[in-house]
């Protein structure tokens, strides 16, 4: 065994060289090839040094230094492969609908949690004005009445279309993400958000129809509803899956169960987010346009069909049988 200071003196130059290579600011793979392979060689030598220093029980300070340098070199050398576009595309064209079909039962539960209070709010608000006043604040009701009294025969000016598009992305996608994330509380957060959003949306619809603007609001929402409502339910279902993974672990530890389903859950949320982005475009620019109502209805039917075909059929070819 050689003395620590001799060891340091002999090896120090290489450590410092490696440190220089790592500290160049650029990412390692942007360096010339000779320097990359030099860094890799230095890293391997460093690993040997680290083992040796540990085995010889050299000073703690020295092993800490080598440890830190080794982990930095490791992180610089082993970077994640850059994101691939075909993989990202396959996530939407194949993985997302497939995962959703595998989790159809959960989707059904989420849909019920959303639709039941929606129906309750709708019927309640339709039958009594008092009901709506209890669910929604007064100011909101006045706003709603103003917004849908006129209809969209004249369209909206392009500027406010843009503003509303931004608002829909910010607000709706945010709601969906929160609806998902709070599912980690054993699913309770998602249950709450599904019930709450269902109730509010149902009540708004009922209240506006009670005020006699039913045609206006329905014509407005049918265009984007297939994307938006479905996506909120899917985000809720992903949240429920998150919570369920903690409860019904299938023989794994809770953490293991969560980990095993993490990819599926991530795919579901990414898909829901993409659908909400589409919904925001439709809601911002198409729904409030001056296009005659019958055409909007036809397009809405087309949208609903497209969503159903996409979720029900995409990725079925060569689907692994389970």
């Amino acid at each position: 065994m050689i003395a620590q200071d001799q060891f340091v003196a002999a090896r120090r130059a290489e450590w410092e060289e490696l440190e220089r290579l790592l500290g160049k600011g650029k990412r390692l793979h942007a360096l010339p090839p000779s320097e990359i392979s030099r860094a890799a060689a230095l890293y391997r030598a460093l690993c040997a040094d680290l083992m040796r220093a540990r085995a010889a029980r050299y000073a703690h300070e020295l092993t800490t230094y080598l440890d830190g340098l080794a982990s930095r070199a490791h992180n610089a050398l082993y970077v994640a492969p850059p994101p691939r576009w075909d993989v990202a595309l396959a996530l939407f064209t194949r993985d997302f609908p497939r995962t959703l079909r595998r989790r159809a039962r959960l989707l059904l539960v989420a849909a019920l949690l959303f639709l039941a209070p929606g129906l309750f709010g709708f019927v309640g608000a339709l039958r009594s004005a008092e009901f709506a006043a209890r669910v929604l604040p007064e100011a909101t009701l006045v706003e709603l009445d103003k917004a849908y009294a006129k209809g969209f025969d004249e369209g909206r000016d392009a500027g406010s279309d843009g503003a509303m598009f931004g608002f829909y992305v910010w607000n709706n996608v945010g709601i969906a993400f929160r609806c998902f994330a709070t599912g980690i509380l054993f699913g309770l957060g998602s249950v709450f958000f599904l019930l709450y959003n269902g109730l509010v949306i149902g009540t708004v619809l009922g209240a506006v129809m009670r005020a006699g603007h039913g045609r206006n609001i329905l014509t407005f929402i049918v265009g984007h509803a297939p994307f938006e409502l479905t996506a909120i339910v899917i985000a809720g279902a992903a949240g429920l899956q998150l919570g369920l993974a903690l409860i019904d672990t299938g023989g794994r530890t809770r953490l293991g169960s969560l980990r095993a389903q993490a990819r599926e859950i991530g795919v579901l949320v990414a898909g829901a987010a993409a659908m909400l982005a589409v919904a925001a475009v439709v809601e911002g620019f198409w729904s409030p346009s001056s296009v005659p109502a019958p055409i909007k209805w036809a397009v809405a039917a087309g949208n609903a069909l497209a969503v159903a075909l996409y979720l029900g059929g995409a990725g079925r070819a060569r689907e692994p049988r389970s």
Binding site: P83, A163, F167, G183
Partner: protein, 232 residues
């Protein structure tokens, strides 16, 4: 090779979060300012763009940074933190997506309370988002190798010790930490600290215990093999 990756505690992560929050607030401030100054003509569309940017800042900032800068946002980088996969691998896009969406849950009911509780319970300081995505936040240490300790002992003096002094590795480490601090200690304190260990070692080797600090240095030099050659 096994190398340790020290996980980052809540304090350090909170500091990193604050830097990132300040950066996001600054970006948002600049965007809003630009919108107010330049956007009067196309008022509505500008609002839309501002809201879109705010959305991206809220939900996409970390995803973007962690993917682009191999697991560390500017705030994390400033504090030497990095997100990695549990096995030490780099994180993927989906990992980052999951762990940063769950920020919304970690934040509940306010100020990341739930996240801090999770970090306290978990042995590796993972918040809920880390648990789901299977990631860790580690500190990339940039320690320095100190100058070798220099001693000036004559060979005769070293010979008074056994060739292999009966000292455990822990004791040796304690001695080294002590020796590296001697320059910064007052003489009385130095003697006091040395007294804690030196008499025991002296008794073990049957040596007189009069100059404790010097004895410790001598033992250290003997074990490490430095100072074996006396300075002229």
């Amino acid at each position: 090779v096994r190398f340790g990756l020290p996980v980052a505690g809540p304090g350090r992560r909170a500091a990193a979060w604050m830097i990132d929050a300040a950066i996001r607030a600054a970006i948002a401030g600049v965007v809003i300012l630009c919108a107010v100054i330049g956007g009067l003509a196309t008022k509505g569309a500008t609002q839309g763009i501002v809201l879109l940017i705010l959305f991206v800042l809220e939900w996409g900032y970390y995803l973007f940074c962690e993917t682009l800068f191999a697991g560390s946002s500017p705030g994390k980088r400033a504090l030497g933190l990095r997100v990695i996969k549990e096995g030490g691998f780099p994180i993927t896009l989906l990992d980052s997506f999951l762990r940063n969406l769950l920020r919304a849950a970690d934040f509940l009911p306010f100020g990341f309370a739930l996240g801090v509780i999770a970090m306290t319970i978990d042995g590796r300081c993972r918040r809920l988002g880390d648990l789901v995505a299977g990631t860790l936040v580690v500190v990339e240490e940039r320690a320095r190798v100190g100058q070798p300790l220099a001693f000036h002992f004559s060979p005769e003096e070293l010979e008074t010790l056994p060739r292999r002094p009966p000292v455990s590795a822990d004791e040796l480490e304690a001695i080294e930490l002590f020796l590296r601090r001697t320059g910064t200690l007052s003489l009385a304190r130095e003697a006091e600290l040395a007294q804690m260990l030196a008499p025991r070692l002296a008794a073990r080797m049957g040596l007189p215990d009069d100059k404790s600090a010097r004895l410790l240095a001598l033992i250290y030099a003997r074990v490490r093999g430095t100072g074996a050659v006396a300075k002229p």
